[in-house]
């Protein structure tokens, strides 16, 4: 008897679900709310002055658990390192975000874009011109070369932000 009553109660509860809002998000028309820290399409950012942030240190390629990042380092006439080519194979990428964590200059970043379907698999291999964006991404004010102690063209030792001029070590002798 109690089984019968329980069953009736269950049926009633399910009938009441007719008046509940539906959980489905009708995707192409309705957009799901994507959190800002979503790990989606990978981009290469620029510093506020418009230069490439990437210094081609290979740390992202090393950190990548599926080896989907390939690049080649080179230098310009001022001694600034940059990647000659930078290639991400998104058909391999698992969007783990390790590359972003490894990056010392905040160059490589994951964004909230997830709509990257392609009909041809080869179109999922993104080159540098596809990856590079015009803005600084999540870190607006940061410029690696302006805070690094490295001497490159246009900036000598001691001229970086928050950096004192170099000390003559022989002055320190007793």
């Amino acid at each position: 008897m109690s089984y019968f009553i329980n069953t009736l109660a269950t049926l009633g509860r399910y009938l009441l679900h007719s008046f509940r809002p539906r959980a489905t998000i009708q995707y192409p028309e309705e957009r799901p709310a994507i959190p800002p820290r979503w790990r989606g399409r990978i981009v290469l950012t620029r510093d506020p002055d418009g230069g490439e942030r990437c210094v081609a240190c290979y740390l992202c390629a090393v950190a990548c658990p599926v080896d989907c990042i390939a690049l080649q380092a080179t230098e310009d006439e001022h001694g600034r390192r940059y990647p000659a080519f930078f290639r991400i194979n998104f058909s391999r990428c698992i969007f783990c975000g390790y590359c972003e964590e490894a990056c010392p200059t905040d160059a490589i970043q994951l964004t909230a874009d997830f709509e990257m379907s392609e009909y041809r698999r080869t179109n999922l291999v993104y080159e540098k011109e596809h990856l590079l964006i015009d803005g600084p991404g999540k870190h607006p004010g940061y410029n690696y070369y302006r805070v690094a102690g490295l001497a490159i063209g246009g900036k000598d030792k001691g001229e970086a932000e928050n950096e004192r001029p170099p000390v003559d070590v022989r002055d320190l002798m007793p």
Binding site: T7, L11, H17, S18, P21, R22, T24, Q26
Partner: protein, 317 residues
Amino acid sequence: MSAGAALANVFGILAVLLTWAALLIWVERRLLALWQDRYGPNRVGPFGLLQVVADMIKILTKADWVPPFADRLVFILAPAVIVVTVLFSFAVIPVAPGIGIADLDIGLLFVLAMAALGAYSAMLAGWASNSKYALLGGLRTAAQTVSYEVFMGLSLMGVVMLAGSFDLREIVEAQRGMWFVLPQFIGFLTFLAAGVAESHRLPLDLPEGETELVAGYHTEYSGMKFGLFFVGEYLGIILVSALIATLFFGGWLGPVLPPVLWFLVKTSVFIALFVLLRAALPRPRYDRLMAFAWKAMLPLTLLNLVVTGAVVLARSG
């Protein structure tokens, strides 16, 4: 009935049934979705109605494949059996005055006989597939059908006693004063349980039980042969719903609306109940299914039978 009218009846009912069965795929998916807070198929055509057409194109263009290890002849015949027997049963269902194919004196017995034959479909399919899951599904069908058929017939005997006839039209006419669901409420409940079991519907779909038997007796089937099992299942739902409407809820009887509409509305309500049962109830364990039939339903039916018989006897005496 003239020959022309009879033919119109036959083909009209056949066309309506097959369209209805196909449409039920969509109805079931939308209703299930409604009760599970989803939308279901709503993309193809208005309200997703053309999903039925898309499904049919898909299933008809699929490879019609017979596994090499199967018993070829029986394998091909098995899906036809369920559709044929269920369609035969509809021959005696009185839709409305003047609509209906045959008026048999033993209409109810004919329906029960056809339901028993329909069980062969799943049994033969399970046997002919020659694979273990299909065989287990077929065995379960055999055991389940035997168990539930016992009290399926008995649960209707109360109605027969009250109406004094096996003729479905006379049973409907006998409900002019009161629907049989009131004096035969236990009969209604037991017949509902038996009907769910006979049409292999959730929660009593253990012959298919996809969590344990892949797909049960139709594991090896594909293409339109699988489609026939599906059509047979949906026709079975319509049949049981129509029978409940006819035997317990006064068939076409009702005020204002035309009789056909009353019959369709009552049948549709029970089809919705079938979907609701599927949405809400979990599948029982197999031994509990058997215990439920033999230890709960059968005694209840017999009790109902005895009491009804005593009352009918006392009144007539």
